[in-house]
């Protein structure tokens, strides 16, 4: 019988620790499939963050480093500068990238580090139990914002894709989501393109993926995807914010 689908070689056989309904698993698969299809798994080095994806080093089937909280872009910089012919990626959540690691991601983008960042934005701290993130929506409840995020007290959500797209060092910045099969296919194309541009040495690339957190949002998996569609996408619009290949036309 012809094989029409099989698991990517880019993932190990380890069982993931992610909660039921969490979209990290889909995003892992898209990253791993992209690396496999590009034929670069054997020369890829990934950087895992601190947060829900802290154990990513057990799931991706390539060399991996576990970084301190927020420091993945600095660690990736060290790796890439030593191994310029290799593919280097960071996989980071919103607390890691948009709070404690803001300086590292901004400066990696400013320098045009030839790395790819997969930024998983689920608007909350997942691993530590649902605390407010810099990407938490105004009015959204969190364990450190029990009455909902108050704009006067904690400000409004930070839009990292838009911020980083202002930097000349950024080659490709796109925001995608994985709430439906068509969105998943678009996300895959974006991730693959980011890796391709990294391999061409074009500069810093980041794909922000809007992701759901049924556990900490207190919603069923399906309702979480609907909540993301109705509430997150208006605040974090999908689309390409920077594409050096378009600027040249």
């Amino acid at each position: 019988m012809a094989i029409v689908y099989q698991k990517t070689k880019g993932l190990t056989d380890a069982e993931t620790h992610y909660c039921p309904g969490c979209t990290h698993g889909i995003i892992h698969k898209l990253v791993a499939e992209s690396l496999e299809e590009l034929g670069v798994l054997e020369k890829t080095v990934g950087i895992a963050p601190v947060g829900c994806s802290v154990f990513a080093y057990d799931y991706f089937n390539c060399d991996m480093l576990e970084a301190a909280h927020g420091r993945a872009p600095a660690v990736a910089t060290g790796v890439k500068r030593v191994l310029p012919d290799h593919v280097v990626f960071t996989y980071q959540g919103d607390g890691d990238l948009a709070a404690i690691g803001t300086a590292e991601i901004v400066h990696a983008a400013m320098r045009g580090e030839k790395i790819t960042t997969i930024f998983v934005n689920n608007a909350i701290y997942g691993m530590t139990g649902g605390q407010m993130a810099p990407t938490t929506l105004v009015g959204q409840r969190a364990t450190t914002a029990p009455l909902g995020r108050d704009r006067n007290h904690a400000g409004s959500p930070i839009r990292m894709a838009e911020i980083l797209a202002t930097l000349d060092g950024a080659a490709y910045i796109e925001r995608v989501t994985v709430i439906s099969p068509s969105h998943i296919m678009k996300a895959k194309r974006a991730i693959k393109k980011a890796f391709e541009l990294q391999m061409e040495g074009r500069g810093f690339t980041m794909i922000e993926v809007l992701s759901s957190c049924p556990t900490n949002w207190g919603l069923t998996p399906v309702n979480a995807l609907n909540w993301l569609n109705e509430n997150m996408i208006p605040v974090f619009p999908l689309g390409v914010f920077k594409d050096v290949t378009k600027e040249e036309v």
Binding site: R71, V75, A103
Partner: protein, 355 residues
Amino acid sequence: MAKELWKGNEAIAEAAIRAGCRCYFGYPITPQSEIPEYMSLHMPEAGGVFLQSESEIAAINMVYGASGAGARVMTSSSSPGISLKQEGISYMCGAELPGVIVNVMRGGPGLGTIQPAQGDYYQATRGGGNGDYRLIVFAPANIQEVVDLMQEAFELADKYRMPVMMLLDGMIGQMMEPVEWKRPALSPEDLPAKPWATTGTKGERRPNIINSLFINPDACNDHNRHLEEKYQRVIENEQRYEINDADEAEVLFVAYGTPARLARAAARLLGEEGIKAGVFRPITVWPYPYEALHEAASKESVRAVVTVEMSTGQMVDDVRIGVNGIKPVSFVGQAGGVIPTPREVADAARKALGR
């Protein structure tokens, strides 16, 4: 080979390149900025990587990444910047990554002053970051020794897979002295392979993982035991010290770095008065040469042990551990960028002897 006149900070940078280091990440801070300045020109000339980072935190994490990728790598800073690196140092120890960290110490706490001091002794030898970990810490007292120890620092870092700190006071970083380049320069090709490094599997092996997370308590305990066994091997094999003129000495000075030179000047002053004084100088302050110090202090002639530091008294704790009550231990020092004079040090010795 002819001697050359070198500034301490530039000599340490050149010594790193000659030790086969081809990767430097750092951030400007006085009094060590000549190190990144020198590296920015000469590291690319040697075919290596120089990068000025956005912060000390980023620099040490770039070191973590480059070390993980198998490079011989270093960073440098001065006291407040070294505080910022403590997170990364702890992670390097946990993940067993080699690397050399240079601290050209200035006065503290906080912003303190840019003048030379030794207030970071506790931080260097007790660990400023979280968890049970150790660093090998070299404390050279002149620029020749700085240069001589640099290659060894990288070698021990690789051998034990742990960071090594070069602990200099600002005096040694800023002054100039004659230097002889005794050891042949190494190129990266001369260095031992690192099969554990994350350099891409090349389809030839299972993926390598560099990590300090052991979420299961038993696994984390086992990891700590493993690190402790390694640190015990370092304690057994890597203690360095020097003893000067300690025969028949009535007073034994204990000092590292610049104060060791002040202590020798004080010993000469005392000698003119007929008081014999010796100087015990730890070259590694971790592992600390406790037994050698104990032996030196236990000599019958020694009536007093006087610790000299450019701090309010930190290494004196280790001196007390080493001497272990067999002789009286006292302290003389200045902090915050003020350097004790040989006269002050000699006075402290006379007082300790009751004269």
